[in-house]
Structure formats: C-alpha cells, structure tokens
Symmetry: C2
C-alpha cells in the first residue's frame, strides 16, 4: 500500500500537466507521488490489471486501493479532496460557467491533435478551419462571460488549468503547420486568454522545445509512442533526453527523418 496517492503518467502529457498545475497552485505538489510510465514500452501487467486493460493515462491510485481515471475526474477530485481553498469557483452559478467552458475542451483538443496528425495536404484547410471555428466559439463565450479578461474570472482558475496544457501542446501546430491565430475581433478575446494562461508562472512544467521534439511522431501521423515506419526509436523515448537532440524538420510531409538525424540513437560505449 502506498502512503500517498500515486499518479501514473507521462510527464509530457497534457492531461497530467493539469494535475501538476492544480497541485502547484494549491501549494501541494508533495501531496502526490508521480510515477513515470514509458509509453514506448509494453505496459506493466500490474498497472494494466488495475485499469482493467485500459492504457489511458493518467491513472490515480489512492492509498485505499481505489483507481481513478479520466483526467478531469482526477483534477476535480484533487481540487475537492485537498485541504484548503479549492481552485474551482465556489459559487454554483460561477462554477457552472467555468464547467461550460471546460466542456468545450474535448472537441478543441481533438481538433488540434487530428490537425497535427493529418497526413493529407488536401485536408489541411479543413482541419485549420475546424480549429479556428472552435477558437471563435471560445472567443464568443469569453466575450459573454468575461469581456474584460484576461481570465474567465478574477484569477487563473479551473478552466485555465484545463486548457493551458492544451494551448502548450498546440506549439506543435505552430511548428509543423505554421498555425497562427488570425488577427481580429473574432479571435482577440481568446488570444488574450490564451496568452495569459500560457504565461502564468505555475504552468512552466513543459517547454516549447520539449513539445516540438517529443511530438514529432504525431506530426508524422503516429501517436501514443507507436513506431514510425523506418525508425527504431519513438520520439517519445526518454533516452536520449529531448534536450540532447536537434530540432526535428518542420516539413511533416517529407517523410520521417532518420533516428540518427533526430538524435534518437544512444551512444554506444
């Protein structure tokens, strides 16, 4: 039995970064033990048994043995169970408003991931427009509920903890798709929100360089630590560390760079 709750995670995963942001904001990073899972290797059978075969991460194991899954469930659980003032709005109506914004995250995340993973140039504009439409919807939502900004309420809160890790993952769109939020009133409010989220001091768990290097395989259409054809190492490998690798090529349609060109081959002594 563990003395503390244990979160099984991959450090670069946005659904795990949410938990880290919440714990940092609540001043309770020590309340939880994080155990790293290497998604480029087969999942440990004991962890698989705990999740009844699901490989989705993060997974929270409580000291009483209860297994919790689903990033938003775990996030809300920590916010409610930890001692002290919660990150969520206490007022039920304000909490419903932040929950409405949080309810938009699934489609938003999906659109960005499908965009970066798309391998068909002819579909690029469709993906781009789909993501922009979701940005416009969030822009309208923020104009209705928080016209002044920058946050939805007076400080970085639960909705910001949910979206910030996704905004940071979307660095892969800047890099591999030259994605840029257009100028104009349809995007200005969400841009202010996004910038405020991304520059908040408690959200620095990942960097642009780390995201761009680790998610290279996603830009080639291959997710979750699976192997790209012609390569022997996943861009999600822990060794060599991302810091020691060169930046990947921006052109995702040119085929994969080699393991060697990506700095993925460990030195042999």
């Amino acid at each position: 039995m563990n003395a503390k709750p244990v979160v099984y995670h991959i450090p670069v995963c946005p659904f795990s970064q949410r938990l880290e942001i919440l714990l940092a904001l609540r001043g309770q990073l020590d309340a939880v033990e994080f155990r790293v899972v290497d998604i480029t290797r087969p999942r440990a059978p004991d962890l698989l048994a705990k999740t009844r075969g699901s490989t989705a991460l993060p997974v929270l194991e409580l000291p009483n043995g209860t297994i919790l899954t689903e990033s938003l469930v775990i996030l809300r659980f920590f916010d409610e169970a930890l001692a002290g003032r919660p990150l969520r709005r206490v007022d039920p109506c304000e909490h419903a408003v932040e929950s409405m914004l949080i309810a938009r995250e699934g489609a938003f995340t999906m659109a960005g991931y499908l965009f970066v993973m798309n391998q068909d140039r002819a579909l690029r504009e469709e993906h781009n427009e789909k993501l922009l439409a979701l940005y416009r919807d969030i822009n309208g939502f923020l104009l209705e509920h928080s016209p002044e900004g920058p946050y939805l309420f007076d400080a970085f809160g639960l909705a910001e903890a949910v979206f910030t890790p996704i905004f940071k993952r979307f660095w892969f769109l800047d890099y591999y798709e030259a994605f840029d939020l257009p100028e104009g009133t349809e995007y200005d409010r969400v841009r202010v929100w996004k910038d405020a989220c991304m520059s908040h001091p408690e959200t620095g768990q990942v960097t642009r360089e780390e995201i761009v290097k680790l998610y290279y395989d996603y830009a080639l259409g291959t997710g979750n630590g699976a192997l790209v054809a012609g390569r022997s190492v996943s861009s999600f490998t822990f060794s060599p560390e991302w810091k020691d690798r060169p930046w990947p090529p921006r052109d995702k349609h040119a085929g994969s760079a080699s393991d060697a060109a990506l700095g993925l081959l460990p030195e042999i002594f």
Copy 2:
C-alpha cells in the same frame, strides 16, 4: 425577468429528463419552470440570441440572466444550488467514482443513436458490437465498484439520473433493431443496473410508446425534427399527440410510412 429559473426543452429529450428526475428526487419540481420548444419549427430568435446561435437543448435561463447550457452542467448546477441534501455522493472519492461512470455516457449515447439512425444493413452488426462493447465496459466498471448492486452506491444517485433517460431512449433499439442485451456474466451486472434504473418510480416521465412513436424519424436516419423525404410532418410534432397515433412500422428499411399511416395528419374541420 423571470422569478424562477427557466428550462427551455423538448419533453421527450433525454438530456431534459435528467433534470426532471433530479428535481423529482430532490422534491423540488416547483423550483423550475419548464418551457416547451417545438423543434419542428424554426427556433425563436430571442432564444437563439441567448444561446449565441446554438440550437442545443436544454437551455437554462437564471433569474439574473445567466444562460447555462450542457445537460450535465445544468444537472450538477441544480444539484449544488438547490437547498437540501444533494444527489451526488458527498465523499470526494465516491463522487469521483460516480463521475467516472458519468464520463462514459457520451460515447454510450452516441453509439445507440448512431445505431438506430444507421440506414445500411451491412453496418448493423458493427453498430451492435460497438454498443455491446460499451455495455461490457460498464459491466466491468460496476463489478469493480459495486459488485452487489443494484445501484452504483446504496441508492439511485447522480450516475443513475444521467443514464436512465438514455436506457429509456434505447427502447427505440428494442423496437427498430430488435436489440437485446445478451445473457451471460459480461452483461449480467449492467442488466441489473439498467433494470433498477428504469423501474425506479421517479423515472416515469416518458413511456416506451412515446419514445417509439416520436423517434420513428430517427430510425429512418433523420434527427432533430428535420423532415423525412416524402413526408410533410415530423414524428416529433406535438399535434396530433403521440397517444392518438398508431405504432409505426418496425421495419426501418422499408422506407417511411406515409403521414396518414403514421397518424400525423391533423383532422380538418
């Protein structure tokens, strides 16, 4: 300004029935005014303005003018804002467990609706298997967290309020697809749960006959009050009332029955 919160809804909608079940269980049906929206007619411009163009229902308008959307957001808002003991589990860990089950509802609902709307006989087995896989997943979840049953915890709770309206809509699968949950240990636990949910006395807001008659157009592949080709009235019409119409044909691949055969033409005096 309204004195009470107003819910705009269609009475047969599962996402609205959830709210009615919660209010009934909490003994506060009078706390909310329900206003019926006829989805077979163009949406009233003032309501469209309130939802920034979205036609999704239900919509909650609070006395202070705040508009809340998303059935689960509204459900949790009522549960938290109404006086008295909430339907949700008070213990954070137990609440996280019921929230994990609730998180499965979206895919479950989608699978059943796509199944009834499917018009390609060759895809029937695929839809059937997809829905069964989701039943097996819920079965496994209930065996882990509540092996004895019948409910997830000791009484009909928040997860039951979320799923029961969907179980009742799936009467359309029994009728139009001859869908039946198979016998066996992979389904026995979820069957007990489903039966307990559907027979609970506070969940009688809709009947099988109403669901089967109103959702006939869904079985023809046409949703949301749109018109089936060759027909002049939607099965979702309020007039004539569903009680005064004959049961629709079970064979959804035979093309639409006529307005007259469906009892959809009002008598002309």
